[in-house]
């Protein structure tokens, strides 16, 4: 017997009719209605805002409620500065109540662009009657916003939309009831609460949290609460969602190495910028070579052992040991497998460019035998790159290859005074086959925008992902232009993949260019870490910008800012407070130990205009920390016990004091200054006659009940949203 599953025919997605309902402004003849008509060759067939001061918007009203699935933007036949580089789209059944459906931007070209709009909550489609388009930025920052043509697509068949409308209606009612239940319970209107719950059969929250409420607010059984939470964290892993949403906190710590012997300053590397560092993750050793100390190039070679916390000078002058001459702005990479370090490139300032040889020498250092070998006197003669600086180099240990990309080619100056010399030349993408000591040019510098074309640059970041075997390249500069693009190069398939062409950018959502970025990669976590420091723009430096740290999630293709420290730096050399983090700088080095998840930073140029020759020699480690389960559990216990202490303090101060000193003290991390300080202040609760703090909105409730309710509200935040009562409060909907 065959069972027929009669599936409804796929509802048709078609063009939706709308009218322009409201607008923020318009200029001249560029009326809002013009967006209804698609005339790409008419420059006046568009809406243009009166200015680009916010708020600017267009509100469209659909002829009938519909599930709006996509929006199409028409364009002008030529590129135009008024095109929207950044915009948001909102939608809803009423003007006042709209949700964000899309945040994106248009390319500045002449092609129509279509975007999918959010039209589902979980799996349920929801309808809209109004669509609001909010321009945020145009391609020419000083220009007004223009929209040429808008088309909306979706489903407006009543057969499909009506059930969605019903669901939406029901969903709103349900949420309203939950808010009421929450309000009744907060105010201890027990009968009203029970009556409403019985009638509607709607659950305010997950039974586990109802149980927590019962134990905490109604019974004051604090021990049982702690047990409940302990089980939730350990057995059920319920805090995991909260943890994954937390931001990483950076923990910088300045490394003060052990000094050996006692010969003063010679036991660690001196101040420098433009040096190079690599890390051997297996042995936890950081190698440092060369650099510029403000006056001259250096040729000293050092190794730092993390375990021993000690620097060892491998060589005071590598040139004397068949190694490279003193240099800065070279690039190094390490083959941890074979325990070899390579160095290529260097910078020569214009005064010596004519006298010194411009041969690109290429050296290898063998760690175990402590010997240098000249691999090539001039890589350019071997088919490799010319002498470059500010390039990037990566090691592929698996296939025993080295990749180098970008950098500026050093040439003899013709006429040193002529500032308008020939355009600077940038080096392409090269592969070096270690075994055969041969070079291959993979990509020439190209300004074409073909899918496999690659634009060379300086000051960029390039990282090799050992698991997916791709090079990741982003940022950099070509003369005065800052590049914003981000692409990957699959080394095995010789294929370029553009991750971001640098145009559809939400400013503030990606690390800004021109800020001397240093990047590292964690192939296991599939993340790229970027530390942004000092701006190359002297004017921006006055703005007291500090470091910012970004993480790029490769799988999700999304950037997140770990921290952006905007505190102003006091130029006080006799500062008594210890620096919490290294000052922003350029020409520094950052390496990453992906096994132990630690970054190391050394030296650089602080960019002090009053002492341009000054360089740094500080050495830092950075750990990115998220709160752990244990930490959160301890924190919850602390909150519960703190409240318990405060309750006790009002009636049995002596017993409370004992509780403070024993049970509560156990939940405090006494090595943390902030926690200790807060703990010490708690004792003052013993001397208050009555708590003078009535939580807002709880004036009609018993104080104990109100305070316990507050604690409950705090604790439920650690649980997944699907389990908790609604976050809002009924009283907050009341406006004056």
């Amino acid at each position: 017997m065959l069972l027929f599953n009669k599936m409804a025919a796929n509802p048709e997605n078609r063009v939706l009719c709308y009218s322009v309902f409201k607008w923020s402004s318009y200029s001249s003849t560029y009326l809002p209605e013009n967006i209804l008509v698609d005339k790409p060759n008419d420059q006046s067939s568009r809406w243009s805002s009166e200015s680009n001061y916010p708020p600017q918007y267009l509100i469209l009203k659909l002829e009938r409620p519909a599930i709006v699935q996509s929006i199409t933007f028409g364009k002008y036949e030529k590129t135009h500065v008024c095109n929207l580089k950044k915009f948001k789209v909102f939608g809803g059944m009423s003007e006042e109540n709209m949700t964000e459906l899309l945040s994106s931007g248009l390319k500045n070209d002449y092609n129509k662009e279509t975007f999918t709009l959010k039209h589902r909550i979980d799996e349920q489609m929801f309808p809209c009657r109004f669509i609001k388009i909010v321009p945020l930025m145009s391609w020419g920052p000083s220009f007004n916003f223009s929209i040429w043509y808008i088309e909306l697509h979706g489903i407006d068949e009543p057969d499909v939309v009506q059930p969605c409308l019903n669901w939406y209606s029901k969903y709103r009612e349900q949420e309203a009831i939950r808010l009421c239940l929450k309000h009744f319970r907060q105010h201890n209107y027990t009968e009203a609460f029970e009556s409403l719950q019985k009638k509607t059969k709607i659950a305010l929250e997950h039974p586990m949290l109802t149980d927590l409420h019962d134990k905490l607010v109604l019974k004051g059984d604090f021990d049982a609460c702690e047990e409940l939470i302990d089980k939730a964290v350990h057995a059920d892993g319920l805090f995991n969602q909260y943890i994954s949403q937390q931001e990483y906190k950076p923990r910088w710590s300045q490394i003060i190495p052990k000094s050996n012997k006692g010969d003063g300053d010679d036991n660690r590397p001196g101040m420098r910028g433009g040096h190079q560092m690599v890390i051997d993750v297996q042995t936890e050793t950081v190698y440092l070579f060369g650099g510029w100390d403000g006056t001259q190039d250096l040729a000293d070679f050092w190794a730092y052992s993390v375990q021993e916390n000690q620097w060892i000078c491998i060589s005071r002058d590598t040139e004397k040991e068949n190694g490279p001459s003193a240099r800065s702005c070279h690039k190094m990479c390490i083959d941890s497998q074979r325990r070899q370090i390579y160095t290529l490139g260097r910078y020569l300032d214009s005064s010596v460019r004519n006298s010194k040889s411009l041969k690109s020498d290429f050296y290898r250092y063998d760690i175990d035998t402590n010997t240098w070998m000249l691999l090539s006197e001039d890589t350019s003669a071997d088919g490799g790159p010319k002498l470059v600086f500010d390039h990037q180099m990566c090691m592929d240990s698996e296939k025993h290859m080295i990749y180098t990309f970008g950098g500026r080619i050093l040439t003899c100056n013709g006429n040193v005074d002529d500032s308008r010399t020939s355009d600077p030349q940038f080096s392409g993408l090269y592969a070096y086959h270690c075994h055969s000591n041969t070079w291959k040019l993979l990509r020439e510098d190209s300004c074409n925008a073909g899918p496999e074309d690659v634009q060379s640059r300086i000051g960029h970041c390039m990282l090799f992902h050992t698991k997916n075997r791709c090079l990741y390249v982003f940022g950099g500069q070509r003369s005065k232009t800052y590049l914003n693009d981000f692409f990957s190069y699959d080394v095995d398939n010789d294929h370029v993949e553009i991750i971001s062409d640098g145009t559809k950018k939400d400013s503030g959502m990606v690390p800004m260019t021109g800020f001397t970025q240093r990047a590292t990669i964690d192939p296991e976590l599939n993340e790229i870490h970027v530390l942004s420091g000092l701006s190359k723009d002297k004017d921006k430096r006055e703005e007291n910008v500090r470091n910012s740290f970004w993480i790029y999630d490769i799988a999700r293709n999304s950037w997140s800012c770990v921290y952006k420290n905007d505190q102003s730096v006091k130029e006080n050399p006799s500062k008594t407070l210890q620096e919490e983090e290294p000052c922003p700088r350029f020409a520094h080095q950052l390496v990453y130990d992906e096994l132990h998840k630690v970054h190391y930073l050394f030296g650089g140029n602080p960019g002090k205009s009053c002492s341009p020759k000054m360089r740094l020699d500080d050495f830092w480690s950075l750990k990115l920390c998220r709160p752990s389960k244990e930490y959160l559990l301890r924190h919850c216990k602390y909150l519960i016990r703190k409240y318990r202490f405060e309750e006790k303090a009002q009636t049995e101060p002596l017993s409370a004091l004992k509780y403070l000193q024993n049970d509560l003290s156990l939940t405090v991390d006494h090595s943390d200054p902030e926690e200790t300080k807060e703990f010490q202040l708690l004792a003052s609760a013993l001397f208050k006659s009555s708590s003078d703090f009535i939580p807002l909105g709880f004036s009609d409730v018993d104080q104990t009940y109100a305070q316990r309710t507050q604690l409950f509200d705090t604790l439920v935040n650690f649980f997944p949203d699907s389990m908790t009562p609604p976050k809002g409060n009924l009283v907050d909907l009341i406006t004056l």
Binding site: S27, S28, T29, Q43, H80, V81, G140, F143, F389
Partner: protein
């Protein structure tokens, strides 16, 4: 920097043809040096509050001058260009010293009258201004930031 040949030229108001907003009050009808069939309007003072740059520098076929387009701030349409760096031949030949140009098909122009209101205002009557700013400022070595 008007030479004698240009003192008798009329001063024009230059307006954007697309949205009628005023772009410049000191325009001069001129011809392109490298192609004298092309008419345009030029001005000496950078019209900063009415136009802004779009896109990047480029060169034309007719000569090696480096140009950058400018667009009306009101409607965003390209109305002309700015000579970022003139080429030697153009610089040496007889020119009016203006580096800001408006395409005649993108603008409309009206001759200005002198204070009396009876006669046309001529360039010779306009107060002298400073020559256009030095384009090569901030040419710091980019190498400053690498070590």
């Amino acid at each position: 920097m008007s030479t004698s040949t240009f003192k008798n030229r009329c001063v024009t108001l230059v307006c954007c043809k697309f949205c009628d907003s005023l772009l410049c009050t000191r325009g001069m009808k001129a011809v392109l040096l490298s192609d004298t069939k092309v008419e345009l309007f030029s001005t000496d003072i950078p019209p900063h509050s009415t136009v802004d740059f779009v896109a990047s520098c480029y060169c034309t076929e007719s000569c090696k001058c480096r140009l950058k387009d400018i667009a009306c701030l009101k409607c965003g349409n390209v109305v002309g260009y700015h000579v970022v760096a003139p080429c030697k031949p153009c610089l040496l030949s007889c020119n009016n010293g203006h580096f800001w140009m408006f395409h005649s098909d993108s603008v409309s122009a009206v001759n200005r009258l002198d204070p009396s209101g009876l006669n046309l205002l001529l360039w010779g009557d306009l107060p002298e201004t400073e020559s256009s700013e030095d384009e090569g400022t901030g040419d710091l070595s980019e190498e400053e930031y690498i070590r």
